[in-house]
């Protein structure tokens, strides 16, 4: 594995008294896609929250390209280069598409080809057509594209995506999948949380499985494909 883009080591996180993440550790290689899988309630979204700073870990460490970002504020973590596509899209409904993209703009020294409004619109031609429309009036698929585009405007060094295919029609899921594949081809490091196993396995290089807040598997995507036992035991699927 090349340099580590994101290292999560020994992270414990609690919601009040309930211990949600137990010693979670994994590493995302630079330019790779890591799928974070698990049943509902396994701790996937909590894991995202711990990385982006919404739920500071009680102990353990998160490093971005070797630089510790644990317990920084969410805005500081974002400025260090973590981009986040939240579950359920969460675009700013009262702002136009363009304003949604503009508020997310961050420049980063050392970005080879920075994301601009123009480049984002090339990736999502539908957004180009709807730049001056209120984001609340977009379809679910378009809102998802906007949420991804918004995260890209921050020129993230690592992109976290929390269930980007959730609640979308199959055709749109395929489109989101193609987009993620293009980002990967462009060298973007991505952590992908997905319930859609096929989509996740098609895109990922590495897989981390969580079950009741613990890492129960970490390895290559081929291993998961071949192991029915893994899938049934931890994901409940065949």
């Amino acid at each position: 594995m090349a340099t580590a883009a994101l290292t999560v080591s020994g992270v414990n996180a609690l919601y009040g008294d309930s211990h949600v993440l137990h010693d979670v550790s994994f590493t995302l290689g630079s330019g790779r896609v890591l799928a974070l899988l698990g049943r509902n309630g396994a701790g996937k979204t909590t894991c995202m929250s711990a990385i982006v700073g919404f739920l500071p870990p009680r102990d353990g460490e998160v490093k971005l390209f070797g630089e510790p970002i644990t317990r920084l504020s969410p805005e500081a973590i974002s400025r260090r280069g973590i981009g986040f596509v939240p579950q359920g899209r969460r675009v700013f409904a009262s702002l136009t598409v363009r304003e949604n993209l503009d508020v997310a703009r961050q420049s980063r020294a050392g970005t080879a080809v920075p994301w601009t409004l123009k480049r984002v619109c090339e990736l999502f031609p539908r957004l180009q057509e709807r730049l001056h429309q209120h984001a609340g009036s977009l379809s679910g698929g378009e809102q998802q594209m906007l949420a991804i585009a918004r995260a890209l405007m921050g020129n993230p060094r690592v992109l976290l995506m929390d269930e980007p295919s959730e609640g979308l029609a199959p055709l749109i899921v395929a489109e989101v999948g193609r987009t993620i594949a293009r980002l990967k081809a462009a060298g973007q490091s991505i952590v992908l949380v997905e319930q859609n196993l096929k989509l996740a396995l098609d895109l990922a290089d590495d897989v981390v499985m969580l079950n009741t807040g613990r890492v129960v598997f970490a390895g290559g995507v081929a291993e998961v494909r071949d192991s029915e036992a893994l899938l049934t035991q931890h994901l409940g699927v065949f």
Binding site: E75, R79, S94, A104
Partner: protein, 309 residues
């Protein structure tokens, strides 16, 4: 159509003092002052999603600063006005540090508490403020050599200041900062995940709102040539809040319309109806029941529906 409406409004505003008597000129001057005050509060209530019940602090303190500087220290208005505004801004910055430790109901209570401290001080510190007697013997400034004691001159001065204030507020709302502010209102967490310092955005907005509240306070004290602790009271804050809600929070025209209704009810209707407060209550309830998001958005919707027919 839109341009024509604007033109008619501008002509009406310019012609008003020449068409009616002094009472009505002064009535509309008061609307201008209340409109600036409500519009500044609307930055917090409507655009930042921060309901403040202490906005009278800024109106009242700018007014008291100006009154004390001119009356006690003999400062000229050209010096007293910027000093009063600077004092108000410093106070807004400090109040923001305290009040913005919370949002929602907590923010509301903190702003209320802070303004009550000022109100109480103005009431009790008789040596400085004359307490319940208020400060009398104040003067209006001269603007570009024109004596603002004349009601028509004051009308145009207030109109000018209001137009400038509303324009400055509209500019902020339409700027990238305004978009970020709307983002913090809708989804504060999301904004921080996008790298924005939500607290700082709110603090800057709080200070900006305080500044324009202070501007309305200066006009207020110039107009009345008198200042009383009531200007710092909860009633004063609540009236502005009612204006914003009745007119339509988060719209530019809403607070102006709301302020006009409240000033009219207070000054005009009260001459005919003894229990004008009750009438204000009824009007407010009717607005909230029939147009929950305020008069301006409500009428816009009716207009659109009518246009479709």
């Amino acid at each position: 159509m839109r341009k024509l409406a604007w033109l008619l409004l501008i002509v009406a505003l310019l012609a008003w003092p020449f068409a009616v008597g002094e009472f009505y000129v002064n009535l509309v001057s008061q609307i201008f002052i209340a409109a600036i005050f409500a519009a500044s509060l609307n930055l917090l209530v409507g655009y930042a999603g921060l309901p403040s019940l202490g906005h009278a602090s800024f109106l009242g303190m700018a007014a008291y600063f100006s009154a004390l500087l001119t009356l006690r220290l003999g400062f000229d208005h050209t010096l007293a006005a910027p000093l009063a505004l600077a004092g108000t801004v410093v106070m807004a910055a400090l109040f923001g540090l305290i009040a913005l430790r919370a949002t929602g109901l907590g923010f509301l209570m903190l702003t209320l508490a802070l303004s009550q401290v000022l109100w109480g001080t103005a009431y009790r510190w008789v040596a400085l403020t004359e307490g319940d007697n208020g400060l009398r013997g104040l003067t209006r400034p001269h603007f570009l050599g024109i004596n603002l004691d004349d009601s028509t001159a004051f009308y145009f001065f207030a109109l000018l200041v209001m137009a400038f204030s509303l324009w400055m507020i509209a500019r902020l709302v339409a700027s990238p900062f305004g978009a970020a502010l709307a983002g913090t209102r809708e989804q504060a967490r999301r904004m921080s995940a996008l790298g924005h310092n939500v607290w700082l955005i709110r603090w800057i907005t709080f200070i900006y709102a305080g500044f324009w509240g202070g501007v309305s306070g200066l006009l207020f004290v110039y107009y009345h040539k008198y200042i009383h602790p009531a200007s710092l009271s909860l009633t004063s804050s609540a009236e502005a809040m009612l204006s914003v809600i009745a007119g339509g929070s988060g719209t530019l025209a809403g607070p102006v319309v709301g302020a006009a209704i409240i000033v009219l009810l207070k000054n005009y209707v009260s001459a005919y109806v003894e229990r004008w407060n009750m009438l204000l209550g009824f009007v407010f309830v009717a607005i909230v029941v029939f147009m929950p998001d305020g008069l301006v958005p409500g009428i816009k919707r009716l207009w659109a529906r009518w246009g479709q027919r």
